[in-house]
Symmetry: C2
Subunit: 478 residues, 2 copies
C-alpha cells in the first residue's frame, strides 16, 4: 500500500470524528437494567455466557460504543480487533447502500462456478489493491479459520504435487482409494507446524495449530502436528538483547529440527507476526527473516497469519512489512478488519492442478468483499496507516511514562514501533478489564495476563489521551 495524498479526503475522518461524544460517559453499572433484560431474552435462544457487553450500534459512533442503558465507552477492543474505521462510518454506509451491494446480497453467487461479471473488478479494486508486496492472487473465504484452513489445504496439495513430480502427474489408484477411508497415501501423513501460544482459529484443522489456551482446545480431537517454541522475549528489549537473540536462535533451531525430524513432515509453517490471542508476543524482524530462510531452504511453505495484525493497525498495512523479507511469504491470510477473509499468494503452483480441489459453494461473500473495498479506499484516502504509526508512537511514550510511575502495573510494555498494537501485563488483569468499563473504556485481554490495545484505525492522539488517563485511574482504583 503506497501512501495516499491528503486533500479533501482527510476531511472524511474529521467529519466522522466530529460526530463523536467528547469522551466516555457512564450512567449505570454495566450491564445496566436494560442490557440485562436484552441479554436474558437473547440467552433463551443463543449462548450468552461469553457476553462482554450488549451494544446499541445505532447510537455508537466512531471510536465510541454505546450500550442499551446509554453508557458510552471508548472502544479499544473494537469487536475483537475487527472494526477498522469506526462505528457508523459514512463511507461504509455508502458502500452498503450501493447497487453492487444490493446485487451481492440478493443474488449470492457460487463464486467458483458462477462468478458475476463484477467479481474481478470487486477483487481488483478492493482486496487485491491491498495485497502484500509480491503477492497477486487471492482465494476468498469467510472468516479467519477457513482462510487458514484453505491455505493449509493449498500447502498440502502443493507439497504432494511436488513429491509426485509436478502438476501433470496423475494420482495413483492407491491414493484415490485410500483417501476415501482417510488413510495414507491418499490422506497423507503431513502436518502444519505452529508455535506455542499461537492462535489460528477454532475449526478442526486450524484448532490443531492453535496453542493458546486449554479452554480453546479441550475435548476436541486434533491432528498430531508439531509445535515449536515461540521466543519469549524479555522487556525492555534493549536490556535483554543477548538473551532474546538466543531465545530466537533456539526457536529457529527447533523449527529446523522439527522440519527435518518430526514424524509427520510439515508442509508449511504458520506464524502470526504478533501472537495476538496468545498474549501479544513479539519477535524480531531477524527472527522472521530466519524463519523465511529456513522454510525456503527445506521446501516448506511459510504462511503468515495476518488475521489480527493485518489492515493497518501496526503502522504498516501488513505487519510482516516490518520484517524486510528477502522474498515474500508463500501465503498471507487475512480477515477481521478486512471484514472478509482469504489468503493471498503468487506461486501458480499454489493453485491446485485440477478444478474442484480447492472449492466450496460460496468461496467467500461478495457483500463483505464490497465492504472490504470501501475500507481499503477509506484507509488510503485518509492515510490511516501513517496515522496508526504516528498515534502509536505517541501513545507508546505515554505508556512508558505510566509504566515508570506504576511499577509492575504496565509490565512488559510491548509494541514499540508497531503502531497502536500495544500491550502490557497486569497482575490483576481480569479485574483491570472490568474496572476499565467503569472508567469508560472497553478494552480486551489476551494470554494469561496481557491487556491488549486494539483501537480502530481512526484512533487519534486525543483518544490516546483519554485512554491513558482512564487506565491510570483503573490502576489507582485496583
Amino acid at each position: 500500500m503506497g501512501s495516499a495524498s491528503f486533500s479533501s479526503a482527510a476531511d472524511m475522518q474529521s467529519t466522522l470524528l466530529a460526530g463523536e461524544p467528547n469522551g466516555p460517559s457512564i450512567k449505570t453499572a454495566i450491564p445496566g437494567p436494560k442490557a440485562k433484560a436484552v441479554a436474558d431474552n437473547l440467552g433463551e435462544v443463543f449462548d450468552t455466557r461469553a457476553l462482554n457487553m450488549l451494544a446499541d450500534y445505532r447510537k455508537s459512533h466512531g471510536n465510541y460504543i454505546v450500550d442499551p442503558d446509554g453508557n458510552t465507552l471508548l472502544d479499544v477492543y473494537a469487536q475483537i480487533a475487527s472494526i477498522p474505521v469506526g462505528y457508523n462510518n459514512p463511507a461504509l454506509l455508502a458502500a452498503a447502500k450501493s447497487d453492487d451491494m444490493m446485487q451481492a446480497l440478493i443474488n449470492r453467487p457460487a463464486l467458483g462456478n458462477f462468478p458475476s461479471v463484477e467479481w474481478a473488478s470487486i477483487l481488483r479494486t478492493g482486496i487485491l489493491k491491498a495485497a502484500p508486496p509480491g503477492l497477486n492472487q487471492v482465494f476468498t473465504a469467510l472468516a479467519g479459520s477457513d482462510a487458514n484452513e484453505t491455505a493449509y489445504k493449498a500447502a498440502f496439495m502443493w507439497r504432494r504435487q511436488k513429491e509426485r513430480g509436478g502438476p501433470s502427474v496423475e494420482f495413483t489408484e492407491a491414493e484415490m482409494d485410500t483417501c476415501m477411508t482417510n488413510a495414507g497415501p491418499g490422506a497423507p501423513n503431513l502436518s502444519i507446524l505452529s508455535f506455542k501460544s499461537a492462535f489460528h482459529g477454532r475449526l478442526f484443522g486450524s484448532l490443531s495449530t492453535t496453542r493458546s489456551k486449554p479452554i480453546h482446545k479441550l475435548d476436541i480431537p486434533a491432528f498430531d502436528w508439531p509445535r515449536a517454541t515461540f521466543p519469549e522475549l524479555k522487556y525492555p528489549l534493549e536490556e535483554h538483547a543477548e538473551e532474546n537473540a538466543k531465545a530466537e536462535a533456539d526457536s529457529l533451531a527447533e523449527v529446523e529440527d522439527l522440519i527435518l525430524n518430526f514424524h509427520a513432515p510439515p508442509a508449511a509453517v504458520v506464524v502470526e507476526p504478533i501472537q495476538s490471542e496468545g498474549g501479544d508476543n513479539h519477535a524480531s524482524p531477524a527472527f522472521f527473516r530466519g524463519l523465511r530462510e529456513i522454510t525456503r531452504k527445506h521446501g516448506v511453505l511459510l504462511i503468515v497469519d495476518e488475521v489480527q495484525t493485518g489492515v493497518g493497525a501496526t503502522g504498516k498495512f501488513w505487519a510482516h512489512e516490518h520484517w524486510d523479507l528477502p522474498f515474500p511469504p508463500d501465503m498471507v491470510t487475512f480477515s477481521k478488519k478486512a471484514q472478509t477473509a482469504g489468503y493471498y499468494f503468487s506461486d501458480p503452483e499454489l493453485r491446485p492442478n485440477k478444478p474442484y480441489r480447492q472449492f466450496n459453494t460460496w468461496m467467500g461473500d461478495p457483500a463483505r468483499a464490497i465492504i472490504a473495498r470501501a475500507i481499503i479506499e477509506y484507509i488510503e484516502k485518509n492515510d490511516l496507516v501513517a496515522q496508526t504509526a504516528r498515534v502509536g508512537d505517541y501513545m507508546f511514550g505515554k505508556f512508558e511514562a505510566l509504566a515508570a510511575k506504576y511499577p509492575g502495573q504496565f509490565a512488559n510494555l510491548r509494541g514499540k514501533g508497531q503502531g497502536t498494537f500495544i500491550a502490557f501485563d497486569n497482575p490483576k488483569r481480569d479485574e483491570f478489564l472490568l474496572k476499565a468499563k467503569t472508567f469508560g473504556v472497553n478494552i480486551g485481554g489476551s494470554g494469561a495476563n496481557a491487556v491488549r490495545l486494539r483501537p480502530m484505525l481512526i484512533f487519534q492522539e486525543k483518544h490516546a489521551d483519554i485512554l491513558v488517563e482512564a487506565l491510570e485511574n483503573v490502576v489507582k482504583a485496583l
Copy 2:
C-alpha cells in the same frame, strides 16, 4: 413450519414470475465471446478452473439466469442449490435496503461478546421461526462446513462432559496439559461416524466425514474416523422392496457395530436426508427412524445435515420431517438456501459448560441472518413448501413418462414425494449437462452419473414443462 394463508401474499410470487422471460433463449455458444473475456480477466487473479458459467445477475430474474452474452437459461442448479426465491426477488431487495441491514453491514459485531440489541429479534423472527420441530436453540455460523464442524465440536464436548460426570466436573491437569500438544486425554480419541458417498463440507473436520469423491479429499490429512455403508436402493422402489429393506437393515447393523467397536468411538453420527453431492442417494423413513433409535440407545448424538436438503425444496421445510421421528435429531445443520448457516439443537447440555468453548470472532453474520429472515417470511407468505410438493409431484410424473419413453436415459429416477428434489442417472452425464445449456437449461450433476434437479422454490408447473421438454431434446441430441 405451519402452512400459511394465501391472500395478497400469493401475488408476490406472481409479480416476480411475471417479470420472467417466456422461456430460455440461447444466442451464442456458452461461454460466448463476452463471457470469455470476463473469465480471462478474472482468471488472472482468481482460480476459474471450476467455472461453469459467467453470470450477469443484474439481468437475471426469477428462475432465469442470464450470461454476459445475453444467453438466458432456466436455472435448475441455482448456485449449487443455494438460491431459494429467485434472482432479484423484490422481497429480498427490501430486506437488503433496510436499516437493519445497513447496521449489520457497517457495524459487524462479535456476536458472542458484543451482540446488538436487535440480535435476539433477528433470530426469533427469522432463523428460529423456521426451527425444525422440537429444536429451539441455534448456534450461528457462516457456511455449511463450519456449521457442521461446530456441531461436531458440540458433540465432542457433550460426550466428554458425560464421560466426566456432568457439567460441574472440572477438567483434570492432564487433560489441560495434553490438549495443548494435541494428545489424549485432552484431545480425545473420539470420532464422528459418517456414510459412504456423504458430503459434509471441505474443511479438515467436515472433510474427514465427507466421502463423496477422491477429488474432494486427495492430499488432505484426515482423521481416522469410521465410515458406514449407506444403503444403495434399487429403483423403481416398489419392485425392490425386499432387497432395499435388507440393504437398510445391513447398513443399520454396520452403524451399530461401528458405534460399539470402532477404535475411536463415535460421539455422533452425521447423515444427510438425501445424499446430495454423493449422487442423490435416498433411504426410507424407516431407515432414519432406525438410525435415530440406534444412536439414542447407545448415547451417540444424531446430527442431520440439512445444508442442501433444508429450506423447502423437498416438499417439507426440513427433509427430515418426512421421517416421522419419535424424537427429534440432536442437531440439525443448515446453510445454502438459508443464505446463512448454523445448527439447531434443544438439549441444554449441548451448550458447553463454560464460555469460550464454542466461540469465534463473528459467530455468523447478521447481514446474512437478515436475508434469511426475509427468505423465511417469503416462503411462508407464498406457501412455497406446499408448492414444491405440488410441483414436484407434477414433474415426477413427467419424468416417469420420459423414463419409459427413453429407457436408460432417465435411469433410477428418484425423489418421488420429495418435492422438486428429483434426480436420475444418465450414461453420458457430463455430456448431458453441457448439452442442456444449448437447450437453455442450467442443470447440475452429482455423484458418478446423476443429473440432479435443484430448482428454486418459485419453480412452477410451467417451468417444469419447459425443463422436461428441454431435457427430452438433450437426450435426443446425445
